[in-house]
Symmetry: C2
Subunit: 198 residues, 2 copies
DNA sequence: CTTGAATGAGACATCAATGTCTCACATGGG
DNA sequence: CCCATGTGAGACATTGATGTCTCATTCAAG
């Protein structure tokens, strides 16, 4: 009787439900609780036993996304070696979680005045710190603020995730496309029409 | 009785309603028809006389966004001069409409299997053609596909619009940040840690 | 002034999603 | 075997948004 709480099996199931919900909501962000339940192979009643409601589910998804991104960030060792390489490692590490990130990125637009999970602020700060480090070391240009570069990275991750999901881009090019565009831009280094030279 | 405090002549034409709705839905994409009506200074009944329903409103908003973006595209003269300059003109021309574009960009994720407005395909093609032209002329690198560059441009526009809306970025830097990141990337051209370069 | 069109206010039914509940089943441990 | 727990299925009320309707008011044209 006494709540039994998060037993061994519960945690596994909960995680499976969460991942199924992430996969579904990534494709169809307006999916019903019923659809989420079916996608996870459970009934709506059981889904409700795991998550009090849709809001709780999204919050749990948000926590999952933050945890995965923070793990990816830690695995990318953002403080080691050239900042450019660290950015590449970071994108590569986040790649598997990009669809979930894309979902949360747009979902966050809905969190109007409501409280924002402070986990995002922590993520933002660590990513911004990476760009700041690159600027301090002279690797990165200093006329683009770290805050903007962080936002741009999220935007590119989300765009790439959608482009891949809709078949407009090959999945294998994911990391390359994002990193190359973010670091080097679209202009050829030795473009013939180069006009400014510093 | 009915104080009617609002202006005397509310001459609400369809365009004014559309722009108000765009401004509101950009900030709060889940706004109610009632909220949309209030934002436009009209009653829900009148709003319904202009647009059959929420779906029709969003479609009209989509048509407005497409029209504005196409106008911006035409004004940017994408076929004239260096492609890099054309990109800059394009971003500058779209800037005023970026919030609406950002709203539609995420809203389109919801148009699951439903029909996509072919206007977007036309936009995509013309933007991709600009990047293709830059590649053909040798200005742009060829290892990033025009389709991805088009997606990335949309993503950066949306990211920048949100960043500006949330005060994380100064509005005056909008065009500069997008264009510089897209064209030149974050890496300094003469970065000291440059490793791979022939 | 009279009339007609457009509007605002609000009532009302509808509909979809949600949250809560009960009940039957089945599975595993005592 | 018996029972407790978790589950699936489904009924049910609730909530919020929506679409439709009526009616009084306002404003401008005649």
């Amino acid at each position: 009787m006494s709540h039994m709480g998060y037993g061994c099996l519960m945690a596994v199931d909960r995680d499976h439900v969460l991942r199924s919900a992430a996969a579904l909501l990534t494709r169809k962000s307006t999916a019903t609780m019923d659809e989420v339940a079916k996608a996870a192979g459970i009934s709506r009643a059981t889904l409700h036993r795991h998550f009090a409601g849709r809001d709780a589910l999204v919050r749990a998804l948000e926590a999952l996304g933050i945890a995965e991104c923070q793990a990816a960030l830690a695995a990318a060792r953002p403080d080691e070696g050239p900042a450019a390489d660290a950015v590449r490692r970071l994108v590569a590490a986040i790649e598997p979680h990009a669809p979930l990130l894309a979902f949360l990125y747009t979902e966050n637009q809905l969190f109007e005045g409501e409280e924002q999970n402070e986990g995002w602020a922590a993520m933002d700060e660590r990513v911004a710190a990476l760009f700041r480090r690159g600027q301090a070391s002279g690797e990165f240009r200093i006329d683009l603020t770290p805050a903007w570069l962080t936002e741009a990275l999220y935007g590119l991750l989300a765009s790439a995730a959608w482009a891949v999901a809709e078949g407009r881009v090959a999945p294998k090019d994911f990391t390359h496309m994002i990193v190359e565009l973010l670091l080097g831009g679209v202009r050829r280094p030795d473009a013939p029409a180069r006009r400014k030279e510093s």
